[in-house]
Point group: C2
Chain length 177, copies 2
DNA sequence: TTTACTGCAAATTCTTTGCAACAAC
DNA sequence: GTTGTTGCAAAGAATTTGCAGTAAA
């Protein structure tokens, strides 16, 4: 889906709710759809601060991301690091995520057999499914290989994930409960 | 699994890491295993504050919950309300969750066919699975029924979830991304 | 006695909000 | 002109942390 169509859809969405299409909203929409990575609010804010001439405040970034989420232009993903990541979804097929606990890499997967089973479960319980998140946490091929090597070489402990705030560590551990 | 066996396991866990079994830790462990509901750190803190004679500080509650999580005595679950909920897992079979967006009710489900498919996907990608979370968000039977009734009666908007902080609303919306 | 633990209050992190100035429509 | 928006800085919420005193082992 190209920027143009997206912009139009956003405009329509805003119009439907009697909201206004401002320069900031346009900027944020464009930047969000210009990347194919997952990004955080802070990340997007910094991109705009450094790349763009027009500056947008953090507050507006948060407010607009919320709006884009409501309109299902983007979706939020909690990778367990204390902050939410976003990805654009308009024009993309639904998928779920495999998250590497070491390097943070996110791979996407989709399996319609799983989704079918999921629907069956909901039907059985009379549960009206709105959406779902299915996260697989573990080590990507590269990191898994490295860890095996380290283990053999006698580096017993795993190095701490090269990531974010220690504060977020706990949240990451949402062990498949 | 009974309290006694659990206490023993905790003791062993602590001993293995040269940590000490304190009165506070014992109190927290017991209370966490005495409930069959999902609870937050704050909830547990308040339970202890009101029910128990020995008072435990919030900081210790957080610290001990983290410890119990590491030892896989309990697991954390993010229901998208800005705080983590915990449930004890020691001696319980793994399961996933269906979360009602209206009343907050949590139902558990388990489907080994899904887990098998999941493992297959990981094998294909060389992903070493450590754990997973599979959350189904929607409306439980009771709330779904109520909503249908409201809709017919001409109560077009959905009442706001009778829950927590508005701040958490955004996080809840992690639309199946 | 040594080493770890606790409570307190202050600090952090991400995110939201009140409000006055401002810009779409 | 209206009505919705922005930016700022202050407010929040959940959780963590430094430190001095306390208690297991």
């Amino acid at each position: 889906m190209k920027q143009d169509a997206i912009a139009k859809a956003f405009d329509a969405f805003l119009r439907k709710r009697s909201l206004k299409l401002t320069a900031q909203r346009r900027t944020i929409l464009e930047r969000a759809f210009a990347t194919h990575e997952h990004f955080s609010a802070e990340q997007l804010y910094r991109w705009l601060a450094s790349e763009s001439t027009a500056k947008v405040s953090r507050a507006t970034v948060y407010r607009t991301l919320a709006l884009l989420q409501e309109g299902e232009f983007i979706a939020a993903l909690d990778v367990g690091r204390g902050e939410l990541l976003y990805e654009h979804v308009l024009g993309h097929r639904h998928h779920d995520h495999m998250i590497c606990l070491d390097c943070g890499k996110i791979e996407e997967f989709h399996d319609s057999r799983i989704e079918a089973l999921q629907n069956g479960i909901c039907a059985d319980k009379g549960f009206e499914l709105v959406n779902h998140t299915h996260r697989l946490l573990g080590y990507c091929r590269a990191c898994a290989g490295q860890r095996r090597k380290d283990a053999k070489a006698g580096t017993p402990a795993s190095k701490p994930p090269a990531h974010k705030t220690p504060a977020a560590a706990g949240r990451a551990d949402q062990s498949g409960a």
